[in-house]
């Protein structure tokens, strides 16, 4: 249980192509922080550096304010859960879990007790004598978690632990992981590409793209107040308007049109954005603020709602609308953007 600080981590491939650039982050004692990003963004690489499996070109990893850059992997006192589970196939569930305790030269009695306790927490007591090949994916995943937490690690690292499980089990497991993590108060860094999964269990989320942290914040921060194009897109924003200039405090020019907004005007946004389901779509002019005329280009059924592509003076908009008023291709419509729901993006 500890506090982890990552300072200016950098890693390049062949000393030329940046894999990671200038990563900094703080994980407080007992927190679960997720690194969220698409595949290839460098999130697993970052985790491997924290674990000590990779060396960064620059930067520091501090645990409770001690730099652990020179501490070898096996002395870091961490736990890690791998995507492939990486269980030891020649050892039983019990021995897999006991492995780290044996390495720490605990007495037989202590090992027995601790393993028993952890197997109980992870609901594996009945499987203690089985070999990994005799377990289902979900069970293997739990053994992997048990093996990582039994040593009471200072930090628990999890690399896409749920991505090999089916959808239903994934939801169950993530709740189990969260409750165990909170019960034992383990500082945890969790790597995933699944937004929902990460929002459901994290205290903080670091969204990563091309080897950089785009934004770090609470799940609510990220979801409601994305700060960059990438993050906004990742959490479901679809309509992006490049700001041409600020006309007045709360008015911005976009594609020669004016959009009124409500946010703090000191932001200096590069883009404005709004979710498809937050745009109001209607047949007749209502003389509302931010109202624009447009034409339906096409639509698709999303289940419960329709997504319309609408050509307007602002550009092509994506608008989600439930089926109370159904529009057809080439219908003339009006869209209005609620000024409270238009948010600024800094880059």
């Amino acid at each position: 249980m500890a506090e982890v600080t990552i300072k200016n981590l950098e890693l390049s491939y062949d000393k030329k192509h940046d894999v990671l650039s200038d990563l900094s982050m703080k994980v407080k004692n007992g927190e679960l922080v997720s690194i969220l990003g698409p595949s290839g963004c460098g999130k697993t690489t970052t985790l491997r550096i924290i674990a000590g499996l990779l060396k960064p070109d620059h930067g520091n990893i501090l645990v409770d304010n001690h730099d652990i850059g020179r501490t070898p992997v096996y002395k870091r006192d961490f736990g890690m859960v791998f995507q492939s589970y990486a269980l030891f196939p020649h050892l039983t569930v019990f021995s897999n879990v006991a492995f780290g305790l044996k390495m720490r030269h605990l007495s037989r009695h202590e090992i027995q007790n601790k393993v028993k306790q952890v197997l109980e927490i992870t609901n594996l007591t009945n499987l203690a004598k089985r070999f990994p090949s005799e377990l289902s994916g979900g069970q293997q995943q739990r053994v992997s978690l048990a093996r990582a937490i039994v040593v009471n690690p200072r930090v628990l690292l999890m690399d896409e632990p749920l991505s090999n499980l089916d959808a239903k089990l994934r939801v169950e497991m993530r709740e189990d992981i969260r409750s165990i993590q909170q019960k034992l108060h383990i500082t945890t860094i969790f790597v995933t590409h699944d937004q929902q999964e990460c929002f459901a269990i994290s205290d903080h989320v670091a969204v990563m793209n091309h080897g950089k942290f785009e934004q770090i914040g609470t799940p609510q921060d990220i979801y409601y107040h994305p700060q960059t194009l990438f993050v906004a897109h990742f959490v479901g924003y679809e309509n992006f308007f490049k700001v041409e200039k600020q006309i007045e405090n709360n008015e911005y020019q976009v594609n020669h049109q004016v959009i009124h907004t409500d946010f703090d005007h000191s932001y200096e946004p590069k883009y404005l954005t709004i979710r498809p389901n937050e745009i109001d779509l209607h047949q007749h002019k209502n003389n509302q603020m931010n109202e624009f005329n447009g034409k339906v280009v096409n639509f698709s059924f999303l289940g419960g709602s329709y997504r319309y592509m609408i050509q307007t003076d602002l550009g092509l908009l994506q608008v989600d609308q439930n089926d109370k008023d159904k529009f057809d291709v080439n219908d003339s419509v009006y869209v209005s953007l609620n000024s409270q729901l238009v948010i600024p993006l800094l880059k």
Partner: protein, 260 residues
């Protein structure tokens, strides 16, 4: 269904083709005639007893077993760390090293035998025993690289990393996690390199000589003077030894898991 039948027929023919000469030899070893003949006219165990009267063959068998064993053991001792370094050591030019280590398989054994004879025995005056161990080592080494390499490649590399994170040093992790998981590859590598060295006539011919008898050469020598069923009998004994080794290793190390 049709292709299934064809496959069965081809498989049966292939197996018969492989097994028939062996059955033939087994039968002739029990013949009463003074030369190898088929079919046999009477049944006797005498040729097996006759082996015991051939001190050359007995001592040849002993040295052949010993030298093949030492050479194969050396192959594992050097090959396993080499493979580990190639695949897990983060070194460059792995393909180049692999090619180098496998190169003895590309050379005719006669060439290996002759060059070792010229280099070790004529030029360096090494004893024949040592030269033979070197030669057999070269014959077996490629099997170690291939089979242990395949075993290591099949192993999830995260397994070892999980051990390190659990508090296990790299060296300890190699013995506790890597070795147990490639043991069937190691067993297979040992068998193949052992049998390959044990059987090699070209290398043996060049590197053994008067006063230093190996089994293949003593069998050849015997054959030149007497063509009797003793040859068949010693062949059957060799088959039994090989089968026994296979069964033992399979029993203790699970070779069937690798061949599955």
């Amino acid at each position: 269904m049709h292709s299934h039948k064809v496959l069965n027929v081809i498989g049966t023919v292939a197996i018969l083709f492989l097994v028939f000469p062996l059955i033939f030899i087994i039968i002739t070893s029990f013949g009463t005639g003074s030369t190898i003949e088929f079919p046999i006219k009477g049944f006797t165990f005498n040729w097996y007893l006759h082996i015991l009267d051939q001190p050359d063959m007995i001592s040849g068998l002993e040295t052949s077993l010993l030298v093949s064993f030492i050479a194969s053991a050396f192959g594992l001792l050097i090959g396993i760390p080499a493979v580990y370094a190639m695949f897990r050591g983060g070194i460059h030019h792995t393909a180049w090293f692999q090619m180098l280590f496998l190169s003895p398989t590309f050379l005719p054994e006669v060439v290996i035998g002759f060059s070792l004879y010229q280099g070790l025995i004529i030029t360096l005056h090494w004893p024949m025993m040592i030269s033979l161990i070197v030669g057999y080592f070269l014959l077996g080494f490629p099997f170690v690289i291939r089979l242990v390499g395949a075993g290591l490649n099949m192993m999830d590399p995260h397994m070892e990393e999980a051990a390190w994170i659990s508090g296990c040093s790299r060296l300890k992790g190699f013995f506790k996690i890597v070795l147990p998981n490639i043991k069937s590859s190691i067993a297979a590598a040992f068998i193949f390199s052992f049998i390959n060295s044990f059987n090699s006539i070209p290398v043996t011919l060049f590197l053994s000589g008067p006063g230093f008898n190996m089994l293949p050469t003593s069998i050849l020598n015997y054959m030149q003077e007497n063509y009797d069923p003793t040859i068949s009998a010693i062949s059957v004994i060799l088959m039994l030894i090989t089968t026994l080794i296979m069964m033992l290793i399979n029993h203790f190390m699970g070779l069937n898991r690798l061949l599955k």
